[in-house]
């Protein structure tokens, strides 16, 4: 059995009447990079706070590295590194001093702490700025210092709450690369929350989609699409050309081709608009479609298989949410 780093069962948190996290169950395996994806206010941060025992859950249980957080928060904090959203440092201390302080709070002796801090600073690329006061750091540097701050205690699990917020695209790429590299190298489990789809898509092994305090779907990004879009996962777009001058001169009329397309195994619906068609299907029928078209005496201008990205998943959910809201009104 694969070891579980984080196990959440039936977690619920209410603020007055507002349910921030609603009966959440989730488990994350050791060494995995898990992305928690959701819009602002979905309850991602609240879930993370409960993982660390920084706020009490109303019901349900959280186990991190097999330890119950509510009961033994200190043991959990010893193994978990947490980078809060919009992390703050002591501005009048240098980056190195900030790190040494945190290391010493983890019961490291000064000299050992300094050594560890220097190593980590080298790893996150802040070695040159180590003696500068943190107030002079740029946003990207602070974020990297935050990562160093998380790694210095040699955690088994790191939890990053919106770590890429406010970074420029290049900074985001560097930062994400750094996370992946370090976590793979050290075998650290990563829980990464964000509302940016592409970043999650870029680094995460598995994704949980979080809306209104509920986990709507979880799994690999490809399987997430299957879960969300019921059956017809594949969309194939193409444009038909004729070998002849005019389409009407063709041996078989286009409508006939479309009818045949519809009869193909797995195809749900084909729509034709001038020379372009869109086929929605249960499985990948690209090869069959192209053969059919060519055999019918037509040429293919282009044929592309559209895969669902997180964007589509996201929008799908927002639309559903909107519908849900409208119904309620």
């Amino acid at each position: 059995m694969v070891e579980k780093s984080i196990e959440i069962v039936g977690l619920t948190k209410k603020y007055g009447n507002h349910v921030a996290v609603d009966n959440l169950s989730l488990s994350i395996e050791k060494g995995e990079i898990f992305g928690l994806l959701g819009p602002n206010g979905a309850g991602k941060s609240t879930t993370i706070l409960m993982l660390l025992g920084l706020t009490d859950a109303d019901s349900g249980s959280v186990k991190v590295c097999g330890i119950n957080t509510a009961r033994y928060p200190l043991k959990v904090k010893r193994r978990v590194g947490y980078l809060p959203e919009d992390v703050g440092f002591y501005n009048d201390y240098s980056g190195l001093q900030n790190l040494i302080y945190v290391a010493r709070l983890n019961n490291m002796a000064v000299e050992k702490a300094k050594k560890a801090a220097l190593e980590i600073l080298l790893e996150v690329g802040l070695f040159d700025a180590k003696d500068k006061k943190v107030e002079s750091y740029s946003r990207g540097m602070r974020q990297r210092l935050g990562l160093a701050d998380v790694l210095i205690k040699r955690p088994e699990v790191i939890i990053l709450d919106e770590p890429t917020l406010g970074l420029d695209p290049e900074g985001v790429n560097n930062f994400l690369g750094l996370i992946v590299r370090l976590s793979r190298k050290k075998g650290i489990t990563v829980l990464f929350s964000s509302h940016h789809l592409h970043q999650i898509q870029q680094v995460c092994d598995r994704v949980g989609l979080f809306v209104r305090g509920r986990l709507l779907a979880e799994g690999k990004i490809s399987s997430l699409a299957e879960q969300l879009f019921s059956k017809n996962t594949f969309t194939i777009e193409g444009a038909i050309t004729s070998i002849h001058e005019d389409l009407d001169d063709a041996v078989i009329p286009l409508s006939e081709v479309v009818r045949k397309m519809n009869q193909l195994n797995g195809v749900a619906k084909v729509t034709l608009n001038d020379k372009r068609f869109v086929a929605v299907s249960e499985k990948d029928v690209t090869a069959e479609l192209s053969r059919l078209i060519v055999n019918s005496g037509y040429g293919l201008n282009h044929l592309s298989k559209k895969e669902y990205g997180l964007d589509d998943i996201y929008h799908q959910y927002f639309q559903e949410e909107k519908k849900y809201n409208q119904k309620k009104v």
Partner: protein
Amino acid sequence: MGMSKLTGIKFPQWTVILKSFPVLRKSSDENKLHLSPFQVMVQKEIADHIRNWRFLILFAIILLACTGTLFSTLTDSLKTLGSDTSENTFFFLNLFTKSDGTLPSFFVFVGFLGPLFGIGLGFDAISSEQNRGTLSRIMAQPVPRDYILNAKFLAGIIVIGVMLFSLSFLVMGTGLIALGIPPTAEEFLRIIVYTLLSIVYVSFWLNLSILFSVRFRQPATSALTGIAVWLFFTIFYPLIVNLIVKGFEPSKYAAPNAIYIYKKLKFYLVQIMPNELFDEITSAILVPSVRSLGPLTMEQIQGAIPGSLPLAQSVLLVWPQVTGLLALTLLCFLFSYLIFMKREIRSRG
């Protein structure tokens, strides 16, 4: 040396030489350098206080006020210190309590500026960590949540203690040079007890302002609330008490019993004021001839011989006041604890 800010200790070059001796190195590694997380936090807080402009300014004000008083007392020493024959035996205590009238005396300054000092050290203790976003980072470390509260409090007390003791010793030392006679053991002990109790007093204000810093997110709100409480007790509460007791004021020709009850009421009403408690403590400890704090009946006064009390008796006299101050301090601490321990720690705001 980059390390000095965090350790708070600057290691001179010769420590490097010491480290080459294995025996010495071992002891220095274990005793000096490896502090528990809590000690590390206290150390950092103390370092922060001492390097803070706010602290330096407050300290400068108190130092200036006290040296000013000291000099004005000493220049006039023969007249002021020797004027009261019954207290002639306590030269050193007079240094703390007497002045020639141009400036208030030392203990008045401590009583007046002490609360400001306490409020100044504590009013942004927790809220500043919260606003800087460091609170959630520290709370994600394996330290119990109350460590941060305790560390802030303990660091404040240590700083206040060091400051008040150095001021007291400064006054004593100057007195020693100027008067040319050493203090008696009793005087010395009285001054030590007085200093310890003023630490308790200032730590009450420190705790109160820490409570406000836990409760209010904005440091300005917390500072103003602290100062408001201080103003209320020093200015408005006495006025209110006067208004209340005015209604009960007996006539000049009332029975002694009625006057006694009236005086007693007045006395009890001011007992919840921390500054009043401290004033009573100061007067009983620094003026040995003070034999009672509340009103006395004629029977109680009858047959009493005016004279000074021994230290133990003076301490006994102010024991209720000391207990009251400690209780108020603990109450503030308890409330900060209650609010803070159950709080949800979000990154900012």
